[in-house]
């Protein structure tokens, strides 16, 4: 089966920033992404668990976007402007997709 190279960007960010990040991505025509709930984790701010969170301020989400390599910088510039001052992680990995025309 033919596969095509692409970039997979994963952004773990505070749940309260969901709409702001979505809008920033839409403004640069990155309209394809998936938002996943995050159960918990540990980092510079200590351990964190979804259990017992009473407001969205304490929750985290994962944005997963897959784009063509030439669109990567546009996506990162837009995302990083929103993410920079906040708790979170941005990572990029190489991946393969089956239907290149969709990205």
């Amino acid at each position: 089966m033919d596969t095509h190279p692409a970039k997979r960007v994963e952004i773990i960010i505070e749940a309260i920033m969901e709409r702001r990040l979505s809008e920033a991505l839409r403004k640069v025509d990155v309209t394809g992404y998936t938002i996943l709930p995050v159960q918990g984790g540990s980092g510079r701010s200590g351990t964190w668990s979804r259990a017992g969170q009473v407001g969205r301020a304490q929750g985290m989400l994962a944005f997963v976007c897959i784009v063509r390599a030439e669109r990567l910088d546009t996506l990162l510039d837009a995302a990083f402007a929103v993410v920079k001052p906040h708790i979170g992680v941005v990572s990029i990995t190489d991946c393969e997709v089956l239907r290149a025309e969709r990205f």
Binding site: I16, R19, G46, R50, G52, V54, Q58
Partner: protein, 324 residues
């Protein structure tokens, strides 16, 4: 009933004991938990019930000048208390101006759960708070955030409040539900209450017990993870500031001539600290401020203090000041 009896009666009520159970279970690392969706459902029920009952009581008793005075007092309290909190934090702790301002915002705003619990305690003690105290709670949510941002700007670190953030604060789900239910109760009055009283009144205390059990679990987990964050100064602030806020609330109630039940709720609103709306606003407006500090203080220290000790004290103080 004297002051000590009132405080003890509150402490030994099923509602507060349920909260204590949650705290103890979390501290003991029990796997007891309330599923997230159920906790959310319980809070929706409580906010609807308290808002609806408030609206019905206004439909019966009508509105008076005291409502306008209480709304203004609520706005002033919410805007002014962050300045007091900021000064205390700077004097009692080593927090930076940014962290101190972020914490201060929480103490000008309110905890709607503490308000609901306070209403329940007041009614159990035979007091009848005015139904429109719900509206006072609603207007106290946001002004404190502006005060905190002004405090940060004064220290040379100006921040903008964009329109989206305003909308999120003013139209947060808890306030929309509370105020919306208040208007439904006001519009439908006793006729509406007669139709849904079996749902609104009888299960209320039991639902509040389960909800506070969950809040106890949340507060207990917060306390467990607070080691290394809570200094003696912060801990002292977390129990001093509610008393300062309650005193300010009682003073306002006294000046307005509110009845003992409303005076108690004014004290509760002054004493409580936000842990839902303001943390969310602070994460957007002041992301560099340390969320562990303000969440631990408001949810792990002040919220349990208010529920276990504060409500009884405010009830007794309201009795003494406003009569009844």
């Amino acid at each position: 009933m004297n002051v000590v009896d009132l405080a003890l009666a509150n402490l030994l009520s099923p509602v507060i004991l349920s909260f204590a159970l949650g705290v103890v279970a979390a501290l003991a690392r029990s796997d007891l938990s309330i599923p997230e969706a159920i906790a959310k459902g319980l809070s929706i029920y409580l906010l609807f019930a308290i808002g609806f009952k408030g609206g019905v009581s206004v439909a019966e008793a009508g509105l008076g000048w005291q409502l306008v005075g209480a709304l203004l007092a609520g706005l002033v309290l919410s805007a002014a208390l962050p300045f007091v909190a900021f000064a205390l934090l700077r004097a009692m702790t080593g927090l930076t101006p940014l962290d101190a301002a972020a914490v201060a915002a929480h103490y000008g705003s309110i905890s709607i759960v503490t308000f609901v619990a306070g209403t329940s305690v007041a009614q159990s003690a035979g007091l009848n708070p005015d139904g429109w105290m719900v509206a006072v709670a609603a207007v106290m949510e946001a002004p404190a955030i502006l005060s905190a941002l002004w405090l940060v700007a004064r220290s040379g670190d100006g921040r903008d409040m964009d329109a989206d953030l305003w909308r999120e604060i003013v139209l947060n789900g808890s306030i929309v539900l509370l105020v919306g239910a208040f208007f439904i109760g006001w519009i439908t009055g006793q006729d509406g209450m007669a139709r849904i009283s079996a749902f609104i009144e009888a299960p209320f205390q039991g639902v509040l017990c389960l909800f506070l059990l969950d809040m106890g679990l949340v507060a207990g987990r917060g306390l467990r993870e607070a080691r290394g964050i809570l200094t003696a100064g912060l801990l002292a602030f977390g129990v001093t500031m509610p008393l300062v806020g309650a005193t300010a609330g009682l003073a306002a109630a006294f000046l307005l001539g509110l009845n003992p039940g409303s005076a108690m709720l004014m004290a509760v609103l002054g004493a409580s600290a936000s842990y839902i709306a303001v943390p969310a606003a602070m994460r957007v407006a002041l992301p560099e401020a340390n969320p562990s500090i303000y969440l631990t203080l408001s949810l792990g220290v002040t919220f349990p203090f208010n529920l276990t000790i504060g409500l009884g004290v405010y009830l007794a103080a309201a009795h003494m000041i406003a009569g009844g």
